[in-house]
């Protein structure tokens, strides 16, 4: 047997230090806060799971969590099919390809807060283009939570559907022509081509798209903050901002974090369970 040279571990050390400073230490600080009461004189008192119990018994927390889930549900239900539909209809060659790609990428380049500001103005019933147009239908995002919901979802769809479309497009263009030819030989319908060729080939990138859009929409903060400035609807992130006690904030953060982790894990496990063994080399090229 070859002797094992443990000095190789030293090569990993810089990375461990980096990860410690970027992730582990900040996270553990939060864990530390979550089990203490911080008095005004900067004295820390051990309180055990008090803050966690408080958060889990808070009606506001559960309402915000529920709202977040519904919001993410809407976002995924709209953006994923819409993005795939757009990708299916994007040109595959010619001058249309770069034009489409640039147009699609534009919303992704706008900073979150600016997106919020754009829609905040766009939707205003006194001067906003959309607000004025919809005013007669009774639209007013500042007074009506349903309208605020509608505005936020529309804004997110405008901002992020491109990401899904671009990812799906990347999956689509990687399908070799032979697959479409074989489908014609086999007499497959358009739906069968989508169901058995395009969708399976897009599955991996769509997993990424679903994860990214879920995490991002679940953590949404900047845009509602810009549009409705802490009004209704209240999301977990905005609720978190309004919480005063440091320990309670920490406990809530941890719960929030664990929920995102749990959902991401569920999505990932469900969407990749069909993968089976890794792809064999060779394959279609």
């Amino acid at each position: 047997m070859k002797p094992v040279n443990h000095r190789a571990w030293f090569l990993v050390a810089p990375m461990l230090v980096l990860v410690a400073f970027t992730a582990v230490i900040p996270l553990m600080t939060v864990v530390n806060y979550s089990v203490q009461y911080v008095a005004t004189n900067a004295q820390f008192h051990w309180v055990g799971d008090l803050w966690f119990r408080e958060v889990l018994h808070s009606e506001k927390f559960w309402n915000a969590l529920w709202r977040n889930l519904v919001f993410s549900g809407f976002i995924l239900a709209i953006e994923i099919p819409l993005g795939v539909l757009i990708a299916l209809n994007m040109p595959r060659k010619g001058w249309g390809v770069p034009v489409c790609l640039v147009l699609m990428a534009l919303p992704l380049l706008v900073p979150w807060y600016v997106v919020g500001m754009i829609w905040q103005m766009f939707g205003r019933v006194d001067i906003g283009l959309m607000g004025v147009m919809l005013r007669d239908l009774g639209y007013n995002y500042e007074g009506d939570p349903i309208d605020a919901w509608f505005t936020l979802i529309l804004m997110d769809v405008w901002h992020w559907t491109s990401l899904v479309a671009l990812l799906a497009y990347a999956g689509l263009v990687s399908i070799p022509d032979a697959y479409y030819q074989a489908a014609r030989i086999d007499g497959a319908s358009k739906w069968s081509v989508f169901r058995f060729i395009q969708l399976p080939k897009m599955a991996r990138v769509l997993t990424i798209a679903v994860l990214l859009r879920f995490m991002d929409s679940f953590m949404i903060f900047t845009e509602p903050f810009a549009v409705i400035a802490g009004g209704d609807p209240v999301f977990l992130s905005t609720e978190l901002k309004q919480t005063v006690e440091l320990g309670q904030k920490a406990a809530m953060s941890l719960i929030y974090f664990l929920i995102i982790l749990l959902f991401s894990w569920i999505f990932y496990t469900v969407m990749t369970r069909d993968d089976g063994e890794p792809q064999s080399p060779g394959g279609a090229s």
């Binding site: 030819q181 074989a182 030989i185 007499g187 058995f196 089976g276």
Partner: protein, 360 residues
């Protein structure tokens, strides 16, 4: 099942072809008889795959007509032509099991379940996928995936023809023999027209009863393996078929004899050939004899190919290969003679028929 006619097919991939070199298929006229087993043989880029895709309707030819049983199908879609085609690299539906993959072409055409089950079971036997039948296609090896592709090509009983586009490229050598034998067996049983594209002469000669040799967008010869060997109608056929290929040497014509450098090889009769054409003399290594008389040459090397040996000689600057018979010694100062039945004359690369070619 169908007879397939290609009538003056020309094809260029770029629009508005202006010159001959723009065409991937320069002009093809050929009839594939109903129930025949054909091999399309030629080097990469000679137009084999284009021709196959034109037959199946995946590609529409720039000019010409495709006829199935005398009926013009040039404008008909792939689906309506009812053709099976197997591609060079495996195409499988990842999310389906092996069995579902094989049933897919039948299911799309509304075949009854009982019939589907029967056909799929048969095909699973033919391609040897029994152990994997209910496995998902995604995790299989390239070999196994290609067997699925092959199986999907064989599963429909009523196709006009089955086209194979170098189907065994990714398959292990030992399995190639087995699968080719299975294909031949299927052909014998069903008498479906089969066209098998390959660039491997062994594969072509063992699969097909008729071999169609293509070169540079043209069909240069159609014949049985023996015809391709005995009377190659184009220098390419001579060179491409046989191992080693035919010796081809520039020559000129002098009445009823060929002039090769300073030497004369007599012909049986004086062929009528336009003096402007480039003339070449061709002889397979099997018909080159070494002895004490004839045209002097020098040995450059002797190659041992296992069952036989090949002597590579230099004859006035022209390379000549000669097959040595078992136990045959290479003479110290070899002289070359040619067996008259193996001597061919080529004008602009095409064979000139010389009635009973030259006696020595």
């Amino acid at each position: 099942m169908a007879r397939i006619d290609l009538d003056n097919i020309r094809h260029a991939y770029a629009p508005n072809p202006t010159q001959e070199s723009d065409y991937a298929l320069r002009r093809v006229n050929h009839a594939f008889e109903d129930g025949g087993a054909y091999a399309l043989l030629g080097p990469s880029g000679c137009g084999k795959t284009s021709m196959l895709n034109i037959i199946s309707g995946l590609v529409a030819p720039t000019e010409g007509r495709v006829l199935f049983n005398g009926e013009d199908v040039t404008q008909r879609s792939t689906e309506k032509r009812n053709i099976a085609q197997v591609f060079q690299f495996p195409v499988v539906y990842d999310s389906m099991t092996v069995r579902e993959n094989l049933a897919f072409p039948l299911r799309n055409r509304g075949v009854k379940n009982a019939e589907i089950r029967k056909r799929v079971d048969e095909v699973i036997d033919v391609v040897g996928l029994g152990a994997l039948a209910s496995r998902r296609a995604r995790g299989l090896t390239a070999d196994e995936k290609q067997k699925i592709s092959l199986g999907r090509g064989l599963v429909r009983p009523d196709v006009s023809a089955i086209l194979f586009d170098e189907p065994l490229t990714v398959v292990d050598p030992h399995m190639k023999w087995q699968l080719r034998a299975s294909l031949r067996e299927v052909h014998r049983r069903t008498a479906t027209t089969m066209i098998y594209v390959t660039h491997d002469q062994t594969e072509a000669l063992t699969f097909a009863s008729k071999v169609v040799v293509m070169y540079d967008g043209l069909i240069v010869q159609v014949g049985t393996p023996a015809e391709l060997f005995d009377k190659p109608s184009h220098t390419f056929v001579g060179y491409f078929i046989g191992s080693p290929g035919m010796n081809i040497v520039p020559a000129s014509l002098n009445g009823a004899s060929m002039q090769i450098g300073a030497h004369v090889v007599p012909l049986a009769s004086a062929p009528r050939v336009d003096g402007q054409r480039k003339l070449e003399f061709g002889v397979r290594p099997e018909f080159v004899r070494l002895g004490a008389q004839g045209i002097p040459a020098t040995i450059s090397r002797v190659e041992d190919a296992g069952r036989y040996r090949v002597a590579h000689l230099n004859m006035d600057g022209n390379a000549i290969a000669a097959l040595l018979r078992e136990g045959e010694e290479v003479p110290a100062s070899p002289h070359i003679t040619f067996d008259p039945i193996g001597v061919h004359l080529y004008a602009d690369s095409w064979r000139v028929d010389v009635a009973g070619a030259g006696a020595q």
